[in-house]
């Protein structure tokens, strides 16, 4: 028996080696995949996490295509069918929806981390510019995606998007009919083509340029990310809304990454200026920053102007996003409820942006460099306590898994997703504890060896 298993292991090893040898002829060896042996800050590989969420979106989206019907009348009904009748349809749709939100969020965090740590400099300009374009494509991908449902909210977004395209000087009337076709019946098919093929293809091509050669695949964090998707899906299941109806006025607010633009439009400022030129200024600021900031300093502390600019841009986005969600229900008509007083709006964003810029700039310029804070002591886990923690985590994971099955069978799919998310989250923690204890033990062993060598000599 023992020799049998040894033979099988040898066979598998040879097969693995054979495959790896032949992979050296492919482009896959260009990328250096690193599985870190100890915890490193996820800020450094937010881009890889974004790409992993993109892969999740690709898989879940491909399965949704089996049931989705890109037709002006049937689209909503088919999404409703996926949500309510198709086995696992609810789960797939929620994974797709929440992963899309998470992808936009991760991309924004990735942008700001790279910005503040000065990563756009020193030969990284191409990475930076492709990243900005990828970010815009991500938003467009999310936008075309949530319009495919053809509910009231989707129609509001389509309406705003088409209005903006039409209002573009010179090119507008030429470009808009490309999306519009002969009416809504054409529009939904064209958005579908954009969403499932054209935009993802462009993103993949750009990502091939944008990927750095070293990719960090950190399984505990990936597990936590998957957990976060499921937990948020369980807590906030994706809404279906109501089918678009051209005789009903409803107060709808777009997805959170578009409410900033929506706020500008609601002030009554000329449409193209509000919805396209002002956001474009924001994008251009990020596009040209590597060509303006030529200093060789990387840390945010050493670049008071650009750090202040970044902080001000975060404040700008936050304030306009909050304005976008603001609806004054004390007013009578939908139009008055959504109207934003321009002086109040532009006053608040100008005031808060300038104040945050000034405060950051002054704080960083006057800051006296003190001594570096002492490095934090690593937590050392004894093998016994690590085992205890892992056993406790395993018990919780087992309980969460049992709850997942139970709630699924009593037809509470969102509860089921929540518990599955908890299980993934805890599994990530478990992997982390395991890796950490192994790592600290190995380090202690090497330290002891070095000590022994030193005392011997």
């Amino acid at each position: 028996m023992a020799s049998d298993s040894r033979n099988i292991r040898e066979l598998l090893n040879n097969l693995w080696k054979w495959t790896v040898d032949r992979l050296e002829r492919t482009t896959i060896v260009v990328y250096k995949f690193t599985v870190p042996k100890q915890y490193i800050s996820p800020y450094g590989y937010l881009g890889t996490l974004t790409a992993i969420v993109f892969a999740i979106l690709g898989v879940s989206g491909a399965f949704l295509m089996f049931y989705y019907r890109p037709d002006v009348e049937l689209a909503f009904l088919s999404v409703k069918e996926i949500q309510e009748k198709v086995p696992f349809g609810f789960i797939l749709r929620n994974v797709h929806y929440h992963a899309s939100n998470l992808m936009v969020l991760l991309a924004i965090l990735h942008l700001y981390y790279q910005y503040f740590s000065g990563r756009y400099k020193i030969k990284n300009e191409v990475l930076w510019v492709t990243g900005i374009i990828l970010g815009i494509l991500t938003i467009l991908e999310a936008y075309t995606g949530y319009n495919l449902i053809m509910n009231q909210r989707a129609l509001l977004a389509v309406n705003i998007g088409m209005g903006l395209t039409y209002s573009a000087p010179i090119l507008g009337p030429t470009i808009a009919p490309i999306f519009m076709g002969g009416g809504l019946f054409d529009l939904v098919v064209r958005f579908y083509a954009l969403h499932v093929f054209i935009l993802p293809l462009l993103m993949l091509l750009l990502a091939a340029v944008h990927f750095p050669r070293a990719l960090i695949i950190d399984f505990p964090v990936i597990s936590v990310i998957v957990g976060v998707i499921f937990i948020s899906a369980g807590l906030f299941p994706a809404e279906l809304g109501i089918k678009f109806d051209l005789t009903r006025g409803l107060v709808e607010v777009p997805e959170w990454y578009l409410t900033a633009i929506y706020a500008f439009l609601r002030t009554g400022t000329e449409r193209f200026t509000a919805g396209a030129l002002l956001p474009l200024l924001f994008v251009i600021m990020f596009l040209i920053v590597p060509f303006v900031d030529r200093s060789r300093k990387l840390s945010w502390k050493d670049r008071p102007f650009f750090t202040a600019l970044g902080v001000a841009s975060i404040v700008l986005v936050t304030v306009t996003t909050v304005w976008g969600f603001y609806v004054d229900f004390s007013k009578e008509t939908a139009f008055d409820q959504l109207y934003i007083e321009p002086t109040l709006f532009y006053g608040s964003i100008a005031g808060m942006t300038i104040a945050s810029f000034y405060a950051t700039y002054v704080y960083l310029s006057r800051q006296v460099r003190g001594a570096r804070p002492p490095p934090t002591k690593p937590i050392v886990l004894k093998p016994q306590s690590a085992t205890t923690i892992m056993v406790v985590l395993l018990v919780f994971i087992a309980a969460a898994a049992a709850a997942t099955f139970y709630t699924y069978f009593i037809n509470l799919p969102n509860h089921s997703m929540f518990y599955l998310g908890i299980a993934f989250f805890l599994f990530g923690l478990l992997l982390h504890v395991y890796r950490h204890s192994i790592y600290t033990q190995e380090r202690q062993a090497t330290q002891r060896e070095q000590q022994a060598v030193r005392t011997a000599t």
Binding site: D71, A176, P177, R271
Partner: protein, 169 residues
């Protein structure tokens, strides 16, 4: 030489036309009604250009209304509200198209919004696109084209509504 190159390229110059739905029917004449059927204050809903496919013909962006105003003028308007794409109905007693969603009110004489959210939009986005019509000797009313951008408004160049009603003799 340049002429030869042009002669070769010319047939393919309209490749970008693929991106637009080719609508020979848009310039096609479509009979709407006869003057005998209309009296001041009456109106007819119809879709244009008609294809015979109910899904396409029922599309909101193909819905129009033919109106005879109280002073006897003929007008054709797109029914897609330029505010948020709802479908306004014609209220003869008020001489206006009124949108059911947010209450935009359009004058029936020129299709310009006089009240409601659409009225707050700047020209040319505060007016319904208009249909171009011809009236022949028999009194038949034909739709021959559209002036403006559906769901958005008019073109920048202002056109007198009466210029879009042609008498063919």
């Amino acid at each position: 030489m340049a002429g030869a190159v042009l002669a070769v390229i010319a047939p393919f110059a309209n490749l970008v036309g693929y991106f637009y739905r080719k609508e020979e029917e848009v310039s096609k004449r479509q009979k709407l009604a006869n003057l005998k059927d209309l009296s001041p204050g009456s109106y007819i809903f119809f879709s244009y250009p008609q294809t015979g496919d109910p899904k396409i013909d029922n599309d909101p962006f193909r819905q129009y209304v033919l109106i005879m105003t109280h002073d006897g003028h003929l007008r054709v308007y797109s029914r897609v509200c330029v505010h948020l794409w709802c479908l306004p109905s014609y209220i003869p007693s008020r001489g206006a198209l009124i949108c059911p969603c947010h209450g935009s009110i359009y004058r029936d004489t020129d299709g310009v919004a006089v009240d409601g959210p659409a009225a707050y939009q700047q020209y040319p986005t505060n007016a319904l696109p208009m249909g171009v019509i011809e009236v022949d000797q028999n009194g038949d009313i034909w739709m021959v084209g559209v002036e403006g951008r559906l769901g958005y408004g008019r073109e920048w160049q202002r056109v007198k509504p009466d210029d879009l009603v042609r008498r063919v003799t």
